[in-house]
Symmetry: C2
């Protein structure tokens, strides 16, 4: 059995290790991770809100360290590809036959004035740091969140569960979550947050921080200053590819580690998975900037299969944007491209809007008017993107849409599919959102 070494301990690494052990129970790994305890990464906002104890957000190591595998808590200093060894800060070098890089991404911390003041935090995937942050945010009165992406919105929503906070969310773009949603959904999300007392500022950027030792004020592009005892910087992340770069591996235009469709880097003995690895968009065939835990998971398990599967390499599938989130109990989900992304990629777009109750009759308890926006290619009705708003079911509906997209579905397919319907569980048979959207698209296309 080859000696497999994994650098990193996040979702991609775990997906790789867990799947490997399922495919071959005798396989062992050495996993090298810098943090003592790993959190569920997407769960961090919840560890600062609805979860009373942030330790409940632990991502257990039991699946990594069973059956003879080893977890090494240390920092990797360098990779020597000729020796096929990984050099560590505090431990002896580790030899590998196959190295898997799952080094993740680093949150962006821009060189704002006052950035080094105490009380200004990025979100790091380290449970001990989450526990520390929890205490700090509980003690704070004025909380400023810089960045209105998914993490920023979820942080604002969750911290608003803690009483007595003044929360401000600052987003430089005209709308929050505009990477995933049309303005109408973003506005709905912003209005919900405002209704719950969150101060949402869009189209405004942060210019710096001031305070004596610790942050006290945030300076905005409109010239105003807002109070802050604690600041979260959640404005994006960049691939953590420095080790790979120093080892001479090829990077893509966004500094992610170049991989082929089987997650192999330019070195045949090294794979890369998760946020550090390059991704190709299913629609545009171009390098994508989307980094999601769900994609990291997929890359981890596919890499495991490519090493251990008996029949053939997995057939490649480009990545599709697939998102969902919950804000104040309402759910929003998106697949594929936004209208703007469709147009930027050169597609002519047929856009349709649909809305129906997710119970039938609509007077049944629990009925929620569920809304959808769909984009189709105006040359062949290929489904390019969809956005949904409703109850928690939209988080699963979007996966049905994701499966359709990954099968290159057109409006004709969505129209012709059979969908299960049940009064207490779904839309009425004649009112299921996917075929309603498809019908509208066909009408526009054929007339």
């Amino acid at each position: 059995m080859n000696k497999v070494v994994v650098i990193g301990g996040g979702v991609a690494a775990k997906g790789f290790v867990i799947t490997s052990k399922k495919l071959n129970k005798d396989v062992t790994h050495t996993v090298i991770r810098s943090n003592r305890r790993a959190p569920v990464p997407c769960g961090i906002p919840y560890a600062l809100g609805v979860l009373k104890d942030p330790n409940d957000n632990l991502s257990a190591d039991t699946e990594i360290i069973d059956q003879g595998s080893t977890l090494v808590i240390d920092d990797v200093i360098s990779i020597n590809r000729d020796e096929k060894k990984v050099y560590l800060k505090n431990n002896d070098p580790v030899a590998y036959d196959q190295l898997v890089l799952a080094t993740g991404s680093n949150p962006i911390k821009p060189k704002f004035e006052g950035i080094d003041l105490e009380g200004i935090y990025i979100i790091e995937k380290d449970l001990d740091k989450t526990v520390d942050l929890r205490a700090k945010v509980e003690a704070a009165k004025s909380v400023v969140i810089v960045g209105g992406g998914f993490i920023g919105v979820e942080l604002a929503d969750e911290i608003s569960h803690l009483s007595g906070k003044k929360i401000t969310l600052v987003e430089y773009a005209p709308y929050c979550l505009s990477v995933a949603f049309e303005a109408k959904y973003s506005i709905e999300i912003e209005e919900k947050m405002k209704l719950h007392g969150i101060n949402v500022l869009t189209g405004i950027s942060v210019q710096g921080f001031s305070g004596t030792g610790a942050v006290q004020k945030v300076k905005l592009s409109n010239g105003e200053f807002i109070d802050a005892d604690i600041v979260f910087l959640v404005i994006g992340a960049v691939p953590n590819s420095s080790l790979a770069k120093e080892a001479g591996l090829e990077l893509d235009s966004r500094s992610a580690i170049k991989v082929d469709e089987y997650q192999r880097t330019s070195d045949p003995n090294i794979m890369a998975i998760g946020d550090c690895a390059s991704k190709i968009d299913l629609f545009t065939n171009e390098v994508s900037n989307i980094r999601l835990a769900s994609i990291a998971s997929k890359e981890g398990r596919n890499a495991a299969y490519n090493l251990l599967g008996k029949k053939k390499l997995m057939s490649p599938v480009g990545i599709t944007n697939l998102f969902s989130t919950a804000v104040k109990g309402d759910y929003f989900a998106a697949a594929g491209m936004t209208r703007q992304q469709c147009e930027d990629a050169g597609y002519g777009v047929i856009q349709v809007e649909v809305s129906e109750f997710n119970r039938h009759p609509g007077k049944l308890p629990g009925a929620v008017k569920t809304r959808g926006t769909f984009f189709f290619d105006n040359s062949d009705l290929k489904l390019l993107g969809a956005q949904l708003a409703g109850n928690d079911q939209v988080a699963e509906m979007i996966n049905g849409i994701g499966i359709a997209i990954q099968n290159n579905a057109t409006a004709y397919n969505l129209f012709a599919y059979n969908y299960a319907t049940q009064p207490m569980g779904t839309f009425a048979p004649n009112k299921y959102l996917l075929h309603l959207a498809a019908t509208q698209a066909i009408v526009q296309f054929e007339n």
Copy 2:
């Protein structure tokens, strides 16, 4: 414009009419229906339970009678294909260029001893009758439901919302819902019903009814008699194809009207859709006995497209069983074939069981341990069937699985797909049920 006449007013007819009007807003129909007011068919159990007013289960006619279309409430006596006319009981004959048969199905009412006693009912798709039944079931003390399929189980569950009833469900098969679920899910559903005071008798058949004028006792195959003020017979339905048969149209082996993949009968001027129309199973290519509102809807809209679409006939897709139901607040859903159905169809089966929390971390509020059983073809890992139990999200997850099945997905596809994940909305990235099931199947297949 051709004169299009539709016989029937249920889901298929409405799907046809609504879709037709969307495809061409100038199209008009004459819809001939025997009942004054149509209910939401699948909503009938709820109109006898959680809905306080059964009139809330109305399926409105506005979508049929707008824009110059006509709704005729009358019984059809015969179809004259030479004259291309439909003869009615109380009105003048109606001429057609294109006739669409959506005559539905008739609930089975077997010739049991005492079957004609008062108080014994089948479930008819007629809102006035539902209103009448509601009053009768409210007045009853002992309710007996004969048949443990979806309608029987949902009726028992719903009537148990009304206080002071003694409810007995009698199913002749060893388990309820065995057309859709493995025994373990059926047992779970039965246990839930029992816990809520419903007397569930399985493996027992009804042999007759006794009473003076009205039913008072139900005689069972085990020799026992149970009290009954009201009896619901919900043991299945047969296609209502008598008009078609008398008009000389071809029927299939189950007495449904033969149609091609475009819903055309043996007469080029007549289509058939919904429960009265023949269905071909996607997996077995044989005549299916499954009749569902969701399939009726699909056939209705596909027929509309085939008449009015500008480009080409819709590509045909055989029907897939897709079910969901709610019992005492828990949800169950099924797609494709059960294990028994796989084996009966000659498939070798790889069966896998998976179970995970639908939130991550699992300590988040609302987390439900969601369970799944999956069947794959042991020769090529094609997905043959799946069953899920959890919260209302499984009613949408099953549609994602349905889309996969309708794209001939294998375990390799389910393994390689990307799925959206979010702490408050789904399983963890590395714990999404579909790729977990796929991994297990691949392991069994390759080892």
